[in-house]
Symmetry: C2
């Protein structure tokens, strides 16, 4: 019997490019609305335009970049309405994910959530915004992955990433960081008690606060 069934494949340039682009966009280094110049980016990443374009096509499908034929790719901009819509859809999907996850949560899962949360707290205290964003994402996705619905988890992940460029602004404020920490604690407590209802409620509040705080940062109708 072969030692690893799913054989390790050599990394491809497009995977590297995809990861780099994602970081550049979600971190805000590429600003919303900015055109993406393929030649410049390709040179910066030391690859040709082919894998870059393939990565862009993926990001287009995920809604991170917009595409116009013969004009190229642009970092997607979200209107306030768009933001509200994304969060509303997440509300629908995450409720399902949380309910399923709670029914299957093991103590080991709770330990993983606890350590993710500790990392969130560490990053929040240190004011390390990128680390906080990463840890926060890990916390939520660890939970959602436990639902045993991979497509649902992937959809939530995609919606999550679609607002990452704005999330970074949100974490810039220490007060917001503190509140995120507190709300995670409330969710984690509910999960420990296996209370799906409470977990859903705390997460809904969590999201509502985020929308309320992000709203003023966005143009009313671009």
């Amino acid at each position: 019997m072969s030692p690893d069934q799913a054989r390790r494949r050599p990394p491809t340039a497009q995977q590297f490019v995809l990861a780099e682009l994602r970081r550049a966009i979600t971190s805000g280094r590429l600003r919303p609305g900015a055109p993406i110049r393929q030649d410049a980016l390709a040179e910066e990443l030391q690859v040709s335009r082919v894998p870059l374009r393939e990565a862009l096509k993926m990001l287009q499908g995920e809604g991170l970049v917009a595409y116009e034929a013969h004009r190229g790719y642009f970092v997607e901009t979200l209107s306030l309405d768009d933001l509200r819509e994304v969060y509303r859809i997440r509300e629908l999907l995450e409720e399902e994910a949380v309910r399923r996850a709670v029914a299957r949560l093991t103590d080991a899962d709770l330990d993983r959530l606890e350590s993710a949360q500790e990392e969130v707290e560490r990053a929040a205290a240190a004011g390390d915004v990128p680390a906080m964003a990463a840890a926060n994402r890990l916390f939520h996705m660890t939970l959602f992955d436990r639902a045993g619905m991979p497509r649902l988890a992937r959809l939530i992940r995609t919606l999550w990433d679609a607002t990452d460029a704005y999330r970074s602004m949100y974490y810039g404020d220490p007060g917001n960081r503190e509140r995120v920490v507190k709300e995670h604690r409330a969710t984690l407590d509910a999960l420990r008690r296996r209370s799906a209802d409470e977990a859903v409620t705390t997460l809904d509040l969590h999201r509502a606060h985020a929308v309320a705080d992000l709203a003023p940062l966005l143009d009313p109708a671009p």
Copy 2:
């Protein structure tokens, strides 16, 4: 003032390829699980592999094809669990879409739904499976588009298309076609009465029947 604000752009090969590929997969001409040979397909479509690969990357994002590095693209296969998951997610999203749509439905919208339904009935009676699939899709999407949530509508559309290869089998049976027609009628009646609850219920039933009938056609755990 210019006559058309959004200027018509020349069509790109990748758009053509994307549409062709979608048809080939959803119609079942490319069977689930089949490898997609880029050279052969490119030659058949009279384009180079570059636009083909970009189209494949989009379809990968939509879940119509699976990708393995250095092995290429394959038409996505759905297990029974996958199918159930897709339909469950649709249930969540479509409920929201229907409720919002009902609140905004105009008489003109109802007329459009009526004519879409008439086309479904014509195709069903004639046993024209592709026409029925197209008309059926139009009926549902016309409704969902009225929700005024473009991202939600796009998600539903994507989930819908992900099972199209199997839907064609389903429509092969005259009895199934008849039932679809009846269930659409029930939904349309509910919409005319502006009863969101009933519309949601009839659509839930509609979906449940489809899953029940498709289940035997799928491998239990591929």
